[in-house]
Amino acid sequence: MSVVAEFPDALSWLVDYLTPRLKVNGYPYVTVGDLYKGDSVEVWLQRDGGRVLDVARATASIRVNCFHDDPAEVDTLAQRVSTLMRLAPTENDVVLTVQQNAGPLFISGIKPQRYMLFDVTVAGASVSLV
């Protein structure tokens, strides 16, 4: 039997982490996901790759796009997402570090949009394999 660390899916973990926190912190109707839906208030997360650092840690590059129908609200939404992302390491044992590498940047498009890029380090959970 071998005991090894298995890494969580950082993208789906972050979707599950952000969704309830945004809903209770100003955005009850927000859609958070890894597919763009075109909803009025939406946070779209995508993974751009990453690597295993050692036996216990892995990184993921996470691209985040925030959309809000109200141009006056899109910056606030992006700031709220940024704050929650940077708060993640203090709230659980899965996310070890979050580094914001870009944004929020203005993106011209059909809807008001802001773009951010994060490096997220996650901890593996030990599993026993036979």
């Binding site: 751009d48 790759g49 590059s61 993106i107 011209s108």
Partner: protein
């Protein structure tokens, strides 16, 4: 046994700003820029052709990979071509 170690800050600073370090950083950045160019979405080729390396020296040799079009950020936000 105790080994005393004293960091040579001035020496390290000189190494980080040296021509050899700049060349190594530039080579690594050019290699990454080639990779980004290869993965860049192409419609007219302008964005792909605009990708280049800019070298600067702060307290060390630094390289930046730049996509120099006004719509590069929009394409990056949708495709992640610079961060993949």
């Amino acid at each position: 046994m105790v080994i005393k170690f004293k960091l040579d800050h001035a020496g390290l600073g000189a190494v980080l700003k040296s021509g050899a370090m700049a060349a190594a950083v530039q080579a690594a950045a050019k290699s990454k820029a080639d990779e980004i160019r290869a993965n860049c979405p192409v419609e007219t080729g302008t964005l792909q052709a605009s990708i280049h390396v800019e070298m600067t020296t702060t307290d060390r040799a630094k390289a930046q990979i730049v996509a120099a079009t006004d719509y590069a950020a929009e394409v990056q936000s949708k495709t992640g071509f610079m961060s993949k």
